[in-house]
Symmetry: C2
Subunit: 340 residues, 2 copies
């Protein structure tokens, strides 16, 4: 399996490391030899049709901050050119999330599908903005579009909703889809911190970005909600269908009031008839009442009742392990196709 | 798909009702028409090779307490004879759990496999006592042995551990696998009830049996742990490999002491090197610290970290929905086999 990787940030590098470290094991257990044949980052690109030397990729990136030093002659190709010129079965989009217009990922995804590459994305932007259209495009081009790593980091939230409940129907989903804000709310609850102090602590711990709006205004949670609604419930919705309210107005006093009723406050993303993200009172006995940077999702099914999945919602290596799951899934379909 | 069903208790009846109610939907969505061609209960049996009239099955059982009134001429066949004489793709064992010798389920399972029927079991006894041997027997006879409903009721605990983490490795499992004792412990914690009073309340609510030993002595949890260890972690273990301690000696005072450390007490079943079931102090922030009759399982994976699944651990209809999942899984393999 030949792979083109766009984006060499935390997740991209983790994927390179994972494939490097687990190469022999993957061949032994799954008869699969993933080869990254091209990589692009903000400053350039590298190609080797026999498969890039992953150790060297990490070294070059570490030393120069860019992949462009890997092999000089092709360093100027951009991602779209890589997609056109490199033979590969899979394109992985690990470029940064942008929920305004989805770029540059949006263009890459469409380009990759047009050139009949299967697509694995961990970039929520294009999916949240246009998943119904992208799904159609994937079907039209007979390729697979997978994005396990976009929700729940390494926690298989999407797989659970999609694959573990065969024969049942998910009628609604409620969840905590953003670990940063859950950490902040937990600090407000347990330490009595104000929003600003909780945010500063989250920044200090590396959970929040310098520009924290994606997290604290509920946009990241909304993007993940859109992805779940499409994949798990078959709804054709995008970001503009979500009512979003972040946690800026939550105070420690709100937690004191909630506690008197046996409740706590969490940033709950939910989908049934409507898609809503907003701070919500829930019982302290609700399985969603998790603390810290965890993510948690409750699927309400028609026959098996309420089912909750809890796990770490982020982490480069965890998210890379979700990309690997998608690769194995795509590989299986390639094997079946080759047999028929 | 033709089915022989042994056992017409809560789960067996729920399965009949589910297949009756969802017949059209199952055909529409999965192109599957499950027909129950034979049923046995404690007092007799019924056969119709075209498929029993499920409405009538429920009526006859309701009125007479037995299936033997359905069609007089074959009412005397026992389950082993049904297995021998009835053409069917699937045998469903919904007979009561017995963890001493696994009977009568043990004999039925072996007999069904010998006659090349795929097997779906919701009876923990035979599996807990002999899963490694039964798995071998299934492979030898080229049939599928499925048992999704034995752990977590309708909650897909086994599927999650087995199917949602492709490419990863489960290194340990910890969980609350018995809802009855979790209800009792929650009552001891929140209402200060003694063990005896908590047990009486559980009996009154219908959660505990008249003979509660299976639950309160940790045997039910141990049986489920054995099943998980075999299926999810590939360990070849049985009941005799489990160190078991129940909740009889837990007191409300233990909860007061634990609370001072930010902890609570739950009956935790765990498997890593050893298999252990015993009352254990866990943090109140542990996702396993669920209240009431819930079940919860944390899978520790090598790459994606700790992943917890929470859901109702029992219920006839929920467990029947797990049987349906197994049927769809078996049906898929039959379709693939027919195609090749």
């Amino acid at each position: 399996m030949r792979i083109i990787l766009a984006g060499l940030g935390v997740v991209g590098k983790s994927l390179v490391r994972l494939l490097h470290e687990r190469s022999d094991e993957l061949f032994k257990e799954y008869s699969i030899r993933p080869r990254i044949v091209a990589i692009s980052d903000l400053s350039g690109s590298a190609i080797d049709t026999r498969g890039l030397d992953l150790k060297r990729v990490l070294d070059v990136k570490e030393k120069s901050g860019s992949i462009s030093g890997y092999n000089k002659e092709v360093a100027s190709l951009d991602t779209n050119e890589l997609i056109e010129k490199t033979e590969a079965e899979v394109f992985v989009d690990a470029t940064p999330t942008n929920v305004r217009d989805g770029e540059p990922g949006m263009t890459y995804l469409k380009h990759a599908m047009k050139f009949h590459k299967n697509v694995i994305s961990v970039n929520k932007g294009p999916l949240a903005l246009a998943l119904p259209a992208l799904t159609e495009l994937a079907e039209l081009n007979h390729i697979k579009l997978r994005f396990s790593g976009t929700v729940g980091g390494g926690t298989p939230m999407l797989e659970f909703g999609k694959r573990c409940l065969e024969g049942d129907h998910i009628v609604s989903i409620r969840g905590i889809l953003n670990g940063t804000t859950n950490f902040m709310l937990t600090q407000m609850e347990e330490q009595g911190l104000s929003f600003d102090n909780a945010l500063n602590l989250a920044k200090k711990k590396g959970y929040a970005e310098a520009e924290p709006s994606l997290d604290v205004d509920g946009i990241d949670a909304a993007a993940k909600l859109v992805i779940m609604a499409n994949l798990v419930m078959g709804k054709k919705v995008t970001m503009k269908n979500v009512e979003v309210q972040g946690i800026r107005r939550v105070t420690p006093h709100d937690f004191v009031k909630a506690a008197k009723k046996g409740s706590t406050i969490r940033l709950i993303a939910s989908v049934s008839d409507k898609l809503v993200v907003k701070p919500t009172e829930i019982s302290i006995h609700d399985p969603l009442a998790v603390s810290g940077v965890l993510n948690a999702v409750t699927f309400t099914s028609k026959f098996a009742g309420d089912l909750t999945v809890v796990g770490a919602g982020a982490g480069g290596y965890e998210t890379a392990s979700a990309i690997l799951r998608d690769m194995l899934d795509i590989n299986e379909s390639l094997v079946v196709a080759a047999r028929n």
